[in-house]
């Protein structure tokens, strides 16, 4: 997987830390973050959710054979499983779908587990339910691309909390054929665009 150097420092996500992502493009962000590494990916979901990950749609982003789904009964179980997996280190990337805000203790425990196991964690959180312990927090949202092809994957990734850097935003596009993640300039500022200034 080729990642645009413009993202360096922030993406791929810093290892041995737990990050957070919110917004409607969170699942795609999570899949791409997992695809930037190797080895199995543990995806922890509460079993009562009706919104399911579709492996056929996941395949262009992340090979579904790398994904191990863990269905838990409650958020407590989810966090316990995630802590166990982060600490173990057998799966280098652990994604956790969260429905209630984490308090500082829970977030900190996940951070310590990730550091002990040398793994990366990513919590998929609802908007505004972040934990203070998170290393970075992202907001990912798909963008309408008026000039793009029919299967455009233009997204806006915004880093809204960063413990070791500044906050920024990028417009990125994923090209499954070449396996590349490109940063593109915002639509309005492109040369030749109608709304371009000047």
């Amino acid at each position: 997987m080729w990642i645009d150097p413009a993202l360096s420092g922030c993406f791929p996500l810093r290892q041995t830390r737990v990050h957070e992502v919110c917004g409607p493009g969170a699942a795609a962000f999570c899949a791409l973050a997992a695809a930037s590494g190797t080895g199995p990916v543990l995806w922890v979901v509460e079993s009562h959710r009706t919104e399911r990950l579709n492996p056929v749609g996941l395949a262009p982003l992340l090979p579904p054979e790398r994904v191990l789904m863990v269905r838990t009964g409650s958020q407590t179980d989810s966090l316990a499983v995630a802590e166990e997996a982060l600490k173990d280190g057998a799966a280098p990337f652990v994604a956790i779908e969260i429905s209630a805000p984490l308090d500082l203790r829970e977030g900190r425990r996940l951070q310590l587990a990730a550091r002990a196991g040398g793994t990366t964690g990513l919590c998929l959180i609802p908007e505004g339910m972040g934990s203070n312990a998170a290393e970075t927090r992202w907001r990912a949202a798909p963008l309408f691309d008026p000039t793009g092809a029919m299967d455009s994957t233009l997204m806006r990734w915004e880093i809204i909390k960063n413990k070791e850097g500044t906050i920024r935003a990028w417009h990125v596009r994923w090209t499954p054929e070449t396996g590349g993640l490109h940063v593109v300039s915002p639509v309005a500022e492109r040369p030749g665009s109608q709304d371009a200034p000047g």
Partner: protein
Amino acid sequence: MWFPRLPSDRVLRTRPVDGPFALTQTLANTQRLYDLNRAAEQQGLHRGMSYADARAFCPDLISHPARPDLDARFLAALRRWATRYCPWVGIDGADGLVLDVTGATHLWGGTAAMLDDMCARAARAGLDLRLGQGATRGAAWARAHHGEPDAPLATLPVAALRLDEATVTGLQRLGLRRIGDLDATPRAPLTRRFGPQVLLRLDQALGRVSEPLNPQGEPPHFGLRMTFPEPIGLVGDVMAATERLLIPLCDKLRLHEAGARRLMLTLRRVDQGSQQIELRLAAPMREAPRILPLFERGVAEVDAGFGIDQIRIEAVQVEPLPVQQIGTGAAGQTPGRVEDLMTRIGTRIGLENVQRFLPADSHIPERAFSIASAAYSTAESGWASVNPRPLRLFPPEAIGASGNTPPERFRWRRVSFITGRATGPERIAPEWWLDDDAWRSGIRDYWRVETRQGRRLWLFHTPQNPGWFVQGEFA
């Protein structure tokens, strides 16, 4: 040894019945008698008669359903018991045992004394036993089924030669009723008429052809226990004891090229209560240092009470695990680490909740993949799809819209959207061979709708039952 009433004796041992008793089995929609006791036989009942007839003959008949599987287990237990007489014991048919007592009779004071002992013990156990003894397996079978233990072979009927019904009838029609008659007949015409089986059985009974006996070995038992002189209660002590049991158990598993899939640790307390810890492993395993830490969670939860004075470990479910060459490169990770992690997660939330996606052959989006327990499946690739598919799928959510083309504006989840670009339609028809409630509304025309607000949704229209629904969201 022949147990003529093995199935009914087995049931009557646990619940004795005075009077007629029969076991019934349903064959071709009719309940028929499978086995019956002596009292029922005296009333004129016989095997294979229908249960309704039997009730008419004998209104106070007590019946019970037949369980051939339990009978086979009972016979296996009897086989184990019979090894007290000699080490070579095989199973003969569904209700008999063959013992090769050569060189073992003098331990019991001669053949007659040994046969008496067998009869006495079987009678005490409530079993009907017929014995036959002979220089060959065929002769012993003939005497057990058709005569006294030491009757002369020549006087026994030809049915005692283990022949099928039609051959026996054919021989009797020729006037050959006894084994002696058969032996005196020229051999060539007999073979031409009845095939080689008749003379083979005759020769086996008379010892002209050898017949091997297959003694069955004990299936390996993967269980060990340890009793303590003083009760223990500390987690560390229990783990140390578990380790001492686990190492010989794993050695035994290695010897049999097997791996444990499910382990049961039973802790018996001083007050006779016992607690069980079940460990289901994500892969067959036989390495004690890897299994031991997986027990930690279960052992920590046990209430030791006044102390534990016996622990017992058993591999309840065992799978073959051949010795494998360890890879020399390529794999960067230690093999089995993921399985260990799955096992540990499984002890908390259940092993079946750790799942894996497998590709399935269907054009229905919800059925284009299957979900399997990761512990019992291997990862498969082959996720090609002609048309792009959404990353998230959810149950269809209706939006108020009409017409054959996607609406210009719509509301979904309390948010207004304006359609920027719509790609489609892709028509998907329901699989008529599977009845699915969600697809009752008929064919669907799927559209990929990119909204001005950014979100890329998967909408479908049902022309046969007009309506618009959102079913997924793209990356």
